[in-house]
Symmetry: C2
């Protein structure tokens, strides 16, 4: 009995999860369809039944698996932050949790390593980063309104910078993030966020 | 007459330059040896005469071409900076010059997109980032000694953060860096650097 073959959603999800695990480790170009089907314990036929090619699989992975995790980690929690100290604490925690194998690293590795000519895949990653930046900008705008972010702060520019700092940490510390580097990055980010405080 | 065949250094350099151009656009895994020899207008035999495989070619490119450019852009100028304002001005200029096709972007794209299992290539990129961070840390240490950087600053942690912010900007804005994003990043980085000032 092979239940997966009778449950298209389960198969689809298994393919996406296997693809994500391979993409995170080896990048888009470095991942072959063979490695994905092998990891998912499926046939190539089953994979191509659900996704016409590797690119459509990658775009589906970004939208269905990666983006929800990035939302959960970096986007949704921002709506609950109501003070500069809460914001600093949130970013400190997330930065000290960063790991070379996690979703944030997968996003950065895939986005940075995507061919500049691959507009479809670049657009998929661009949407994830834009959503992340928009959430930070919205939080800072709210903080300005509520009086805990300095009125002279430009939310969009700060959002570009915060996402760059977090993503750049992942990009420059592969394949292993040392504890000292993580703590250093978290401390420097906190010191930076302190400059946004209303006075 | 084919002068390149009689000048091994010229051929070697042509291979490295062609490889770099392809790597910067398509990443390591996304670049085939065929594309490199085609761009360099050489034969595969000529390429393999100089480099046994794509990895050794990539490592040579990092050391011989990429690292000297990163040195020139981000490392050597730091030795001449003698004030916080000079440091801010330097980083503002460099950030507004960042481009998706430049050496900094190539470094970030390649480093972030390298397979986590490729220790040799990861180490080559790791050395470039470490040198860049060390130069920033040394400058900040000097600034502390000379009285223009605040005494409580931890140079290593700040260096991790600055390199992360610059690299992360490149990683999160492919394939095109908009003028507004560049200016925003430069302004936020400047505001951050201001927090390092001696008081």
């Amino acid at each position: 009995m092979k239940p997966r073959k009778k449950q298209p959603d389960v198969t689809r999800r298994a393919v996406l999860e296997a693809a994500g695990a391979e993409f995170a480790r080896h990048g888009y170009s470095g991942t072959g369809v063979d490695a994905i089907v092998s990891r998912a314990e499926l046939t190539k036929g089953a994979l191509f039944h659900h996704f016409p090619d590797k690119r459509s699989l990658a775009v589906a992975w970004v939208g269905k698996l990666l983006e929800p995790v990035i939302d959960e980690l970096w986007v949704a929690p921002l709506a609950d932050l109501g003070s500069l100290d809460a914001m600093k604490s949130f970013f400190r925690t997330r930065c000290t949790e960063l790991d070379a194998g996690d979703a944030t690293s997968a996003l950065v590795a895939m986005a940075a390593g995507t061919s500049v000519t691959d507009e479809i895949l670049a657009a998929a990653f661009g949407r994830v980063f834009a959503k992340w930046r928009d959430a930070i900008a919205a939080m800072l705008e709210r903080g300005k309104r509520d009086g805990w972010i300095h009125r002279s702060i430009q939310p969009e520019a700060e959002a570009v910078f915060v996402v760059s700092a977090v993503a750049g940490f992942c990009a420059t510390h592969r394949p292993v993030f040392s504890e000292a580097a993580r703590r250093g990055c978290a401390a420097a980010l906190e010191a930076y966020l302190e400059t946004l405080r209303a006075q």
